[in-house]
């Protein structure tokens, strides 16, 4: 247990330092969300409709930023080999790193989202729904991203391939996450948040095992 916590703490500390990914992801998130009204036009009605999707897509893209360095950085300087020799299993390593990624990327994004929703003219009644949908959905982004990061571990420029692998797998999260907010706006109850929760639960529970399998054969040679 302490090995898990130690790895988690190390990764969180690395990410929150200057040059780490936490602030970068937040800045990217804000930049993307602010860019869209310039393209779409600032008509309030239109923005209110697309606000949820913009925030969600920006959240997915911002989370992708830190993903290709998730295992790559440790792989390159040999730390991953040392971690493999530690008492922590590969599943534990994967779970710790994915959790650290969520704590330093997904969670701050979620907390910043009401501010962006304000900029994008989302009606106030949907703020809680947006918060909850991001809170429930961002672990899935980190989990599936972690799997893809482990699969693309030894590729040079693997960071370019990562979005191609991750985005199709994250489509249900975006559909149900933004869909939950739209349902709240339209006063419909379509259970989207529950589908999102189920998707997240499955992703979070299975990803350490799949990630560990990918890490094992990448380190084996």
């Amino acid at each position: 247990m302490s090995a898990f916590v130690a790895l988690l703490a190390r990764d969180v500390r690395l990410a929150t330092r200057a040059g780490g990914s936490a602030m970068l992801a937040l800045a990217f998130f804000a930049a993307v969300a602010t860019l869209v009204p310039f393209g779409v036009g600032s008509e309030p009605e239109l923005l209110a409709r697309v606000a949820a999707s913009i925030v969600w897509i920006a959240a997915v893209l911002a989370s992708l930023l830190a993903l290709d360095r998730l295992f790559q950085a440790d792989y390159e300087d040999g730390s991953l080999d040392l971690l493999a020799l530690s008492p922590l299993s590969f599943e534990g390593i994967a779970a710790a790193k994915i959790a650290a990624h969520w704590l330093t990327t997904g969670l701050p994004l979620t907390l910043l989202s009401p501010l962006l929703a304000l900029l994008l003219n989302l009606p106030t009644k949907a703020y809680i729904t947006l918060l909850v949908s991001l809170l429930v959905g961002t672990p899935a982004i980190s989990a599936i991203g972690g799997v893809a990061a482990a699969l693309t571990l030894s590729i040079r420029r693997g960071g370019l391939l990562l979005p191609l692998l991750v985005l199709p797998l994250l489509t249900p999260a975006v559909i149900f996450g933004a869909g939950a907010v739209l349902a709240r706006l339209d006063r419909i109850e379509n259970g989207a948040i529950w589908f999102l929760a189920a998707f997240s639960a499955v992703a979070v529970l299975l990803s350490p095992f799949v990630t560990a399998a990918a890490l094992r054969f990448n380190l084996a040679e």
Binding site: V147, P168, T171
Partner: protein, 237 residues
């Protein structure tokens, strides 16, 4: 199946089987195309109903190809069957082509039928996702330098994406959609007239034979390429 693990045995067996497969493909296409043109125009859709004979078999084979890919990936990971990852690698581009074909022909059919080239309903969206899964598989397989690592990574990716197949299959039941619902494999028998079913099944059989012919040709080519490379390396040494 372990008997075919030896590439030499596979080459012998496939070499004998291949002419028959190719012949069957040609024959089935001849029959299927004849029946497709001989079928009468539909009372509602007119002659555009014939797009069904090109679109539906392509979609069926695209999904079957992904099943083939996933099965080969599973065997490659679990049994370490040496030809399984070759089969997976060679099936992926074929599956991607059939998916693209289904999407394009479906789009062309949608314009006269629904008035739209594309709608974001469950069936079309999940089928587009299938194309992205294929492309991601091909990209990952080609990006990793070590062939064995590439095979394993791509195998895991293929197995993750298998969850899309039932989604495609049941999307017309789960969500309201413009796309045709279950019309053939349903309780109560097919809802399509026999005069359209025969061309459809003939073309489906032809497409399936085409897929297997092509995938066997590609596996044989891969084995021959490896031999050529080994010979070149041996010669250089």
């Amino acid at each position: 199946m372990l008997a075919y693990a030896n590439p030499k045995r596979f080459m012998e067996l496939s070499g004998r089987v291949l002419p028959w497969l190719a012949g069957a493909t040609a024959f089935l296409f001849a029959v299927g195309l004849y029946l497709s043109f001989a079928a009468p125009p539909d009372y509602q859709q007119g002659d555009t109903v014939r797009i069904m004979f090109v679109h539906v078999p392509a979609a069926w084979v695209a999904m079957m190809a992904y099943g083939f890919l996933a099965l080969a990936s599973l065997i490659s990971l679990v049994n370490r069957h040496p030809l399984a990852d070759v089969a997976a690698k060679q099936a992926a581009p074929l599956g991607a082509m059939f998916t693209a074909l289904a999407l394009v022909t479906g789009s062309l059919w949608g314009r006269p039928m629904w008035g739209a080239y594309w709608v974001w309903d469950g069936r079309l969206t999940s089928f587009l996702l299938l194309l992205f899964l294929y492309l991601g598989y091909i990209a990952l397989r080609n990006a990793v330098e070590s062939e064995t690592r590439a095979a394993k990574a791509a195998a895991i990716l293929a197995l993750i994406g298998v969850v899309n197949l039932p989604i495609i299959e049941f999307s017309v039941q789960w969500w309201t959609t413009l796309h045709q619902g279950e019309s053939i494999f349903r309780a109560g028998g097919p809802a399509i007239a026999a005069v359209f079913l025969w061309p459809l099944f003939a073309m489906a059989a032809a497409y399936t034979m085409l897929f297997f012919t092509l995938v066997i040709v590609r596996i044989r080519t891969d084995i021959l390429e490896r031999r050529a490379r080994a010979l070149t390396m041996g010669h250089a040494a």
